[in-house]
Amino acid sequence: MSRLVISPRHLQTIGRHAMASYPDECCGVLIGRALDDSTVVERLLSVGNERQDSRHNRYLISPETVLAAQKEARALGLDIVGYYHSHPDHPARPSDFDREHAWPWVSYLIVSLEGRRVVDTRSWRLNDDRASFDEEVIDQAALGILHKEAV
């Protein structure tokens, strides 16, 4: 099982972004470095949901935005290591739509909201065969703080 190391502060920021965007989905880019057994998030890039329709259950980060994020990451000697998005009133599990549109290797952090409350945060990675996601470990202490803040 792979590991996503992310600070409580970053998780809080993601939670706030998700709550503020409710009932729409929010999204953003995780920038950091990949180590042997874990991925470390060092910066967040909150980006606007570029979907014009169905924003409550769809998000889009355009290739131009990804390109810009990638340049920003490279300039810092880092890389894009994942993406986050929210599931308003849905569990923090990837949907089929998520799977069809996912890259391998990167982490997909999903924040589940019930109303404007964060109720769950999980991270996933696509299998090489694209058939399913594997869940990653997120630092539990960090999560505890996020949820306390978000109540």
Binding site: A20, Y22, P23, D24, E25, C27, V29, A34, S54, H56, N57, R58, Y59, L60, I61, S62, P63, E64, V66, L67, Q70, D79, I80, Y83, H85, H87, P88, D89, H90, P94, S95, D96, F97, D98, H101, A102, W103, P104, W105, V106, Y108, G115, R116, R117, D128, D129, R130, K148, E149, V151
Partner: protein, 477 residues
């Protein structure tokens, strides 16, 4: 034709960690075909099973999306660099009923929707919001009416009272036809008529320490429309413990106060008032009176703050207390600070749960006809009888003794018959038990208390003391 393709980090595992792969091809399609020939494992990430490029895979030629050129047919020249850039997409599964406004809702809320500060997004936030108002009275009336009208999707009401005629000068939720009805019923009906698109949740109950946390946890915002200190402290503490905002308002005679107490973001009620005033110092509306329109003003200000919190517009009244004087027609604003030693919302709280708020506010259990201790004196008995306070005077002597001397109004049940004649006594009544000097009545009181007659007391000194100290006409024997 020598062209390079830059491989994004996620896909480098499939290219033997190469960040750049040299390929040949006269067009973008040909170059990609060569790439997947060299590294077949890449294929499924770039192409669907039908052989089409996946919708989220974007190919950039020298920083320009080839979709804006000639797509896959875009010709390449030697030295060109292709970039594979994903667009990142996804989302929750489709819901059967995505949050949206129906045509009827759009008509109802149109004057909100045309303001950019609210708009459809804000209105959907209102629809998703869950707000609990404590009290369906003076403040609860405008709160309920405006929050329902504004489209707060789930509006909970807590009250246990009945509409009284004296409520009608300010509690505009109710009319004459509601007098005598439970407020919660009358209010629910009225608010459903105001806005049928929302969910009104009646909670007919008395809020206390045993139910507040459970009730509050399902709501986003709590609005305090109560009229007494124990409930005010209870609402504050429960909100702090759950991290929820408490939109506070209070009224007295011609003056009112409004603030948002939110321990997670600013001061709470206890930072302002660590302790309640002594009981009796601040009269309630029932005792002190209130200008009928005042709760309309203060409750409307609270509703305004609730709506702002939900749609995220403007400056919320956190850390500020607004004072309103209806006679002077003057608003004042006080800045509030978080008390670093606040017993409940500071970093090191001394109180981590709810407490007994009646006791905290110095209000004991209802001071009815309490009986303290085991004995009462003959003087106390005389006083009680003279003031007409109801009690049962129980004589446990023998019938012969009763013949000789008795206290007027006493019920004779000899001690040895008491067990069988308990049915003649009321367990809720104050029972003063006497015998000749005290030993038998002491025994009787112990027995009665065991049997649940908690308000049985012993007349110290018995009928003998009564005769000596109170009524010489009762013979001594």
């Amino acid at each position: 034709m020598g062209v390079t393709i830059q491989i994004p980090t996620p896909l480098r595992r499939f290219t033997g960690d190469q960040a750049e792969v040299a390929v040949s091809g006269a067009t973008v399609d040909e170059a990609l075909a060569d790439l997947t020939r060299q590294f077949p494992a890449l294929r499924r990430h770039l192409y669907t099973d039908d052989g089409a490029l996946r919708s989220f895979v974007n190919i950039f030629l020298n920083d320009e999306d080839v979709r804006h050129l000639q797509g896959g047919q875009t010709p390449l020249t030697a030295g060109d660099a292709l970039l594979i850039i994903p667009s990142i997409a996804g989302g929750a599964p489709f819901t059967l009923s995505p949050p949206a406004l129906s045509p009827a809702e759009i008509r109802h809320y149109s004057r909100h929707l045309i303001m950019p500060e609210v708009g459809t997004t804000g209105q959907l936030k209102l629809k998703a919001a869950k707000v609990l108002t404590i009290g369906a009275g003076g403040l609860g009336s405008p709160l309920g009416l405006y929050l329902a009208a504004a489209g707060v999707g789930t509006l909970g009401l807590v009250d246990f009272d009945v509409v009284d005629e004296s409520n009608l000068h300010r509690q505009v939720l109710f009319g004459r036809s509601s007098v005598g009805r439970p407020k919660i019923q009358a209010a629910t009906e009225r608010l459903r008529d105001v806005n049928p698109h929302i969910d009104i949740v009646p909670h007919e109950m008395r809020l206390d320490s045993s139910n507040a946390l459970e009730l509050f946890k399902d709501y986003d915002i709590i609005v305090d429309g109560t009229d007494n200190f124990p409930t005010r402290y209870l609402v504050n503490d429960a909100c702090v413990l759950l991290g929820k905002p408490n939109v506070y308002g209070s009224i007295f005679r011609f003056e009112g106060q409004v603030s948002i107490f939110w321990g997670a973001r600013g001061p709470c009620y206890r930072c302002l008032f660590p302790e309640p005033p002594p009981p009796g110092l601040v009269p309630s509306c029932a005792e002190g009176g209130v200008l009928g329109v005042l709760p309309g003003i203060i409750g409307s200000l609270q509703a305004n703050e609730v709506i702002k919190l939900i749609v995220g517009a403007g400056d919320p009244l956190i850390g500020r207390l607004v004072l309103f004087d209806a006679l002077k027609m003057r608003f004042r604003e006080l800045k509030l600070r978080k008390d670093p030693r606040c017993p409940i919302c500071s970093e090191h709280p001394t109180q981590t749960g709810l407490i007994d708020y009646e006791q905290f506010c110095g209000i004991g259990p209802q001071e009815e006809d309490t009986v303290e201790g085991f004995d009462i004196s003959v003087d106390e008995l005389k006083q009680r009888l003279d003031t007409g306070r109801p009690l049962t005077l129980l004589d446990v002597r023998n019938p012969q003794e009763f013949e000789i001397a008795r206290i007027d109004g006493a019920l004779l049940i000899p001690l040895h018959e008491l067990r069988d004649r308990l049915g003649e006594l009321d367990p809720a009544a104050t029972i003063v038990v006497h015998c000749h000097h005290g030993p038998r009545s002491t025994q009787a009181v112990h027995f009665l208390r065991q049997m649940g007659f908690s308000r049985a007391v012993n007349l110290a000194g018995g009928i003998n003391a009564w005769s000596l100290e109170i009524d010489p006409a009762v013979p001594q024997y």
